[in-house]
Symmetry: C2
Subunit: 325 residues, 2 copies
């Protein structure tokens, strides 16, 4: 199978009508994309490398899903609506079965969010997936990292920490294996391998939230990006953090590490003014996404935890860094 | 050096004012890009892999240039004006000197075309560069592959084939070494490693040319994409093909192979109606780009060469295919 046949067979979908924003899709020098008049284009790009972002033996369907999910999650964090994506793919060889599974996982999630493939590139090389995703929103609506204000409430969606437990079990960490035994529950594996981008929540938070981002490198480290971009500090109420049933049996320090420094959560972390609490609840309900109020933005810089007794201590959490581990 | 420090040091440019179309650049979940009202977004993505698209020992400055050039060339082929680009980069390790050179080569060309970096990703892995580039044009102006019409003249810019000779010399092909001796002329090396995207020509051809594409896989193979997309055929006048002084001493068959099947040319191949010959000349002059009229589009399918005596024969040329070699 040649390069063009590979693209035609797995990535061109003549049976699908292209949505109206795609004036020209796969097959020319460029794709042509038309955002809604008055809207701005939101763009994000993520590269996934074997051995860094996924295991060599991961199911191709799962990998297709995750590659799409981490990109859509960036649109979610901005409050943007998906328009389309490009896929650049380096493959060691053209494996029919692998490509079929990968394309199924990729398109199942992309289709669910009406996000068509508009172009890309295919080459031979060590397995590497680079997706660039496009969304749209009105210019003033974007949920920027720099928009947190002192006094804002701090929120997180879903159950951060579960993906970390699954990862540690897969990597054979003794504490994770003694916690879970010989079997990784499917729901927990799914939290690591098939995260669901919080697009509905992100769009529902437009006009409600101030700052937002998606959790990829750990809650505490990612929160640090909001704090430095906004020139503020925060405290996190430990008692208010969501307690996933899967994590409750962990020792407290291990639990905290999973929730605050886990990574791979793809939940939304956002701030909103106190007066918007009702609107946040409505956004959570409309998007059918659990949301937890976990702390407060402060004028004083620094990141602190606060326990049930009101004692605060500084939180020194490091997010994941590809060039430090 | 950590990931964020790497990005800050080499790819953030606080000294540069972002152009007005970039509402938000590097550092948030998404970049925000605002095309001119009434314009459409043109998008192209290219992935470059060590050992496939470049030699492991290529100068990083050269690699930065080429990665940018091949993407801008896709905008040129559409007639689009650059707006910005994202860069996803997998690196085996964070090498300061390499990154400095790479960024210099990349930004020198990007700056020359007012094309700012708006976002991207950095990770550890086998060296892989994925650039996605964005341009704009009015929806009806795009130079599509499907727009060739029977009777159109066929044109090519520059000197296709020179890059192939340089590549063969670098790979030690005996015929190339006997042609050039022990020294690869700088101008020839530059044609392979530092191609100049024909953006000015592409934009000047808007409203003049019918179909266009940029030559990456060889003139004959790439022309095949225009022919199949447009449902037409073509003949190429061998005597009209540009004869680069660097290639004139080659045997005729070898010369033809370089010019028609060379690859890596990044010249524009385009069609235009006979009535537009004057306008094509004007576009070539305005953009200071040499352009050669090399053949004709025909209603009958098939690709033929025609010699000085008017004899035609079918041309069976295969473009480069990453999964066939």
């Amino acid at each position: 199978m040649g390069e063009f046949e590979l693209i035609r067979r797995h990535f061109q979908r003549p049976d699908r009508a292209l949505p109206p924003q795609v004036l020209l899709g796969v097959g020319d020098d460029c794709a042509l994309l038309q955002p809604t008049p008055g809207h701005t284009l939101a763009i994000s790009s993520d590269m996934l490398v074997e051995g860094r972002h996924f295991f060599a033996d991961v199911a191709p369907h799962t990998l297709g899903h995750k590659a799409m999910a981490v990109n859509l999650s960036d649109l979610a964090a901005m409050g943007a609506k998906p328009l389309g994506f490009t896929l650049a793919l380096a493959l060691p060889h053209a494996d029919e079965q692998w490509l079929t599974g990968f394309a199924q996982g990729l398109f199942a999630l992309a289709d669910a969010h009406a996000c068509p493939l508009v172009g890309g590139d295919t080459t031979r090389g060590p397995l590497n997936l680079c997706i660039t995703v496009f969304g749209e929103l009105r210019p003033g609506e974007a949920l920027r990292r720099s928009a947190a204000r002192p006094g804002d409430d701090l929120y997180v969606s879903g159950q951060p920490g579960e993906a970390r437990l699954a990862l540690e079990w897969l990597m054979g960490a003794p504490w994770a294996c003694s916690q879970l035994g010989n079997h990784l529950p499917a729901a927990l594996r799914s939290r690591l391998e098939c995260p669901l981008p919080r697009l509905a929540l992100g769009q529902a938070l437009v006009g409600v939230a101030h700052a937002a981002l998606d959790l990829s490198d750990g809650l505490a480290g990612d929160l640090g990006h909001i704090l430095s971009a906004s020139g503020v500090g925060a405290h996190i109420d430990i008692a208010a953090l969501p307690r996933s049933p899967a994590l409750t049996a962990l020792p407290e320090a291990r639990w905290r590490d999973c929730v605050l420094c886990g990574g791979d959560d793809y939940e939304l972390l956002f701030t909103a003014p106190v007066g918007a609490r009702g609107a946040v609840t409505t956004a959570a309900q409309r998007s059918q996404t659990p949301v937890h109020r976990i702390g407060r933005i402060t004028a004083e810089p620094g990141l602190f935890t606060r326990d049930a007794q009101g004692r605060t201590e500084p939180l020194q959490a490091q997010g994941f860094d590809h060039f430090k581990r």
